[in-house]
């Protein structure tokens, strides 16, 4: 390619059914340092257009640190150079990145610290699944409030992006890929 020519993007493909031994890693859903008093839990289920749980979805999460920083940090997948195994996060650096496969009942859970982004706090979610030819982006907002994206939606659609606080510091965020109550999915033009 010449220096001036802009290359065209590589097309996306489905993640397929067999990523389970490759992409998930121990502690992928434990972004918060163990025992941190501010830890929150984001959890829910992923459903298909027939209302059935999706047992083979993979969710990537990205968020601001509690102080609002968007710099992230390495160490989400920290490895042991002597055994090749996973060491787990170091419990000090906040990486802002999590990854959780859904279980046989389509459930996931993420334990993290409250995101400190400007405006209404939210956790960015990227959804992959067998049958999904191209990933989907959405946001789990941890509160309702004035927000340029939320304010552009109907009440019904807005509600799909707002995680429901159940037990203290525990938020439920279900993802419906299709049909009634379909989650709002995002594009970034």
């Amino acid at each position: 390619m010449s220096m001036t020519e802009r290359p065209l993007p590589t097309p996306a493909h489905t993640i397929g059914p067999f990523y389970g031994h490759a992409l998930p890693f121990p502690g992928g859903g434990e972004i918060a340092p163990p025992g941190h008093p501010d830890t929150i839990t984001l959890h829910g289920q992923v459903y298909d257009g027939a209302g059935a749980p999706v047992p083979d979805a993979l969710l990537d999460f990205w968020q601001a640190a509690p102080d609002g920083s968007l710099k992230g940090a390495p160490g989400s997948l920290r490895r042991d150079p002597s055994t090749g195994g996973f060491l787990g996060r170091d419990g000090v650096d906040f990486t802002g990145f999590g990854r959780v496969p859904t279980d046989a009942d389509g459930r996931y859970a993420l334990r993290t610290l409250p995101p400190g982004n400007a405006g209404v706090p939210y956790i960015a979610v990227c959804v992959f699944a067998r049958g999904l030819t191209h990933h989907l982006f959405t946001r789990a907002y941890l509160a309702d409030g004035p927000d340029p994206l939320l304010d552009a939606l109907s009440d019904e659609r807005r509600a799909t992006l707002i995680a429901a606080e159940g037990a203290p510091r525990t938020y439920r965020f279900d993802i419906r890929l299709q049909g009634e109550g379909e989650t709002v999915f995002l594009e970034f033009p």
Binding site: P11, A12, A64, G72, G75, R79, T95, Y122, Q178
Partner: protein, 256 residues
């Protein structure tokens, strides 16, 4: 009842013809697959019916315009050599797959995580749910990861995966492929895709490859044999560059 390949072929052709006609009529080229692609049966209940909602660009505080970072602690040095993960040598044709990770402006994407997974030479994944009765290879797991270097380059040593059957329709076979998961500097650049090998006779029949209806875009999923990458007495080389999409806002920022 499972559909026949001929029935799937007819559906694939309908979608291809409709896309080609639309582009000929002035519709924009579509670089990515439609999420609703009925020949790939599993897509039917797993694609949104509502249009995607655009997040207005330009706000630097948009969380998705930054992304996770990875470093030397997230990989071990031999994670990019899938032939070294067990005591013995895996069976199959040893290959080296290498290329550059670029953004839409053609700039290298440095220090980012590239993860791969694949079937073994017989077309079998080391995954419990895999039912294909081809042999497992005790010396091959088929999982690798690496970080791109300062030129955005990645390199993997592995064995060439075999094609494998799947349940989409009767006599459905996937062309040989390696799955790739890639991060850019922004969460919006995230990409999961598959790399194919040149000249595979299964290309026309595969609803997953054909879900990318643009022919030129499909061609970008196929690696090129590269003799310069072949290593004497060791492996055959394949070159495959990956170009990350993403919002225009990320194209004009300085790369990290």
């Amino acid at each position: 009842m499972a559909l026949t390949q001929a029935e799937i072929d007819a559906e694939i052709k309908d979608h291809q013809d409709a896309y080609d006609k639309a582009v000929a009529g002035g519709s924009p080229v579509r670089h990515h697959p439609a999420r609703d692609y009925p020949p790939y049966r599993s897509s039917r209940l797993r694609h949104p019916k509502q249009p995607l909602v655009a997040v207005s660009g330009g706000d630097p505080e948009t969380v998705e315009l930054s992304g996770p970072v990875f470093g030397v602690t997230d990989i071990t040095e031999i994670d990019n050599d899938l032939t070294l993960q067990h005591r013995g040598e895996p069976i199959g044709e040893r290959i080296t797959v290498s290329g550059r990770l670029l953004d839409r402006a053609g700039r290298p994407v440095r220090g980012q995580l590239v993860e791969i997974w694949q079937a073994n030479a017989a077309g079998r994944y080391a995954h419990l749910r895999e039912q294909h009765p081809a042999p497992l290879d005790p010396n091959f797991t088929g999982v690798g990861r690496t970080l791109t270097d300062d030129q955005g380059r990645y390199s993997f040593t592995t064995v060439r995966p075999g094609p494998y059957p799947w349940g989409n329709h009767t006599n459905a076979w996937r062309p040989a492929h390696i799955h790739f998961s890639v991060f850019g500097t922004a969460f919006t650049q995230r990409l999961v895709t598959q790399m194919y090998f040149p000249g595979d006779p299964l290309f026309p029949y595969d609803p997953i490859l054909r879900s990318v209806t643009d022919e030129a875009a499909r061609a970008r999923l196929v690696a090129a044999y590269d003799h310069e990458l072949s290593r004497p007495e060791f492996s055959l080389g394949y070159a495959w560059d990956i170009v990350l999409d993403g919002p225009s806002a990320t194209w004009i920022e300085e790369g990290r």
